[in-house]
Subunit: 150 residues, 2 copies
C-alpha cells in the first residue's frame, strides 16, 4: 500500500443542505454531483454521500453515530491566524442557517499554533488551525519533515 | 476558505496497536510520533491521536462512537484491480493480529469500478478501490475533472 489516501467521504442526512453549506457558504465547487458529490481538494477528493448509503456501501449498519464525536476530525490548515478567525467568524455568523456551528472558538493551542473547531451540518468535526511550523506549497499542500526512520 | 483540507486525524484507543497496523503491516512511516502520530500522505497528513484526547481537543464528549459505522469513510484508490485484491488479501490474512478486518470483499461496483472495504484497528472504514475513470499523477494524486460551474 502506498502511503497516501485518495478520498474522504462524509455521510450526510440532507445532501441539499450540506451541499449548500460547502458551496454557498464556503465557496467550494464540485466536479461531480450525480450519486456522490465530489470536490477536488488538490488531487485528493472531498466527497459527500448519503449517510445510509455510505454505511450500506461498506456493509455497515447505518445506525446514527454517537451525537457529536465520531472518532475522527478533518483539519483545514489556514495560512494565518487571521484566516482562522475569519473562517470561524463566518461559521459563527451564518453557519446556523445550514445547521453548522462553532464547536470551539479559536485559541492558542498547547502545541504552539492557533486553532478552533466547527461542526458541519452533519456534525463532522473540522479543525481550523494555523501551524507556524508547517509551510505550504503554493497550491496548499503541506511541506512536511521526512520520516524519522526513512 | 480554500477548497482543500490538510489533515485527517483518526482517534485511536490503542496507539501502539494502531501504529503497528499502519507501520508494520501496511508499511507507512511517520514523520512525527510525539503527541500526535503523523504520516505524510503526499502533502496531506494522516494522523493518529488518542480517541479521548481528540474529542477533548474539539470540546466534544468522547462517548464511544456507534459500533462500526462512524458517518464517514476514507478511500485508497489503487492503481489496478490486482492491487485492490492484494491489499484486502493482506488484511484478510494478517489484519486480525492488529484488530483490523475486511468489511466487504472486493467486487465490481455499480459505478463501474472495483471496490472493497476494511476496518482499521479502531473500526475506521477504509474503502480500497480501483476507478478506471480517474487517472493518477506519478505521486499518487488524482487528476480530476474541472468543476462543472467553474
Amino acid at each position: 500500500m502506498e502511503q497516501r489516501y485518495s478520498i474522504i467521504t462524509f455521510g450526510t442526512s440532507d445532501m441539499a443542505r450540506t451541499r449548500s453549506f460547502y458551496e454557498d457558504l464556503l465557496g467550494w465547487q464540485p466536479f461531480m454531483t450525480e450519486g456522490m458529490t465530489a470536490y477536488d481538494a488538490g488531487g485528493f477528493v472531498f466527497g459527500l454521500f448519503g449517510h445510509d448509503e455510505l454505511a450500506k456501501d461498506a456493509d455497515l449498519n447505518p445506525a446514527v453515530p454517537a451525537a457529536g464525536y465520531q472518532g475522527f476530525a478533518v483539519a483545514y490548515n489556514a495560512r494565518s491566524e487571521a484566516e482562522v478567525d475569519e473562517l470561524l467568524a463566518l461559521i459563527g455568523e451564518k453557519g446556523s442557517t445550514y445547521g453548522a456551528k462553532v464547536l470551539k472558538p479559536a485559541h492558542k493551542a498547547f502545541w504552539g499554533g492557533y486553532s478552533g473547531y466547527f461542526a458541519d451540518p452533519d456534525g463532522h468535526a473540522w479543525e481550523v488551525a494555523f501551524n507556524p511550523y508547517w509551510k505550504f506549497e503554493e497550491d496548499g499542500r503541506l511541506i512536511l519533515p521526512k520520516p524519522a526512520k526513512a
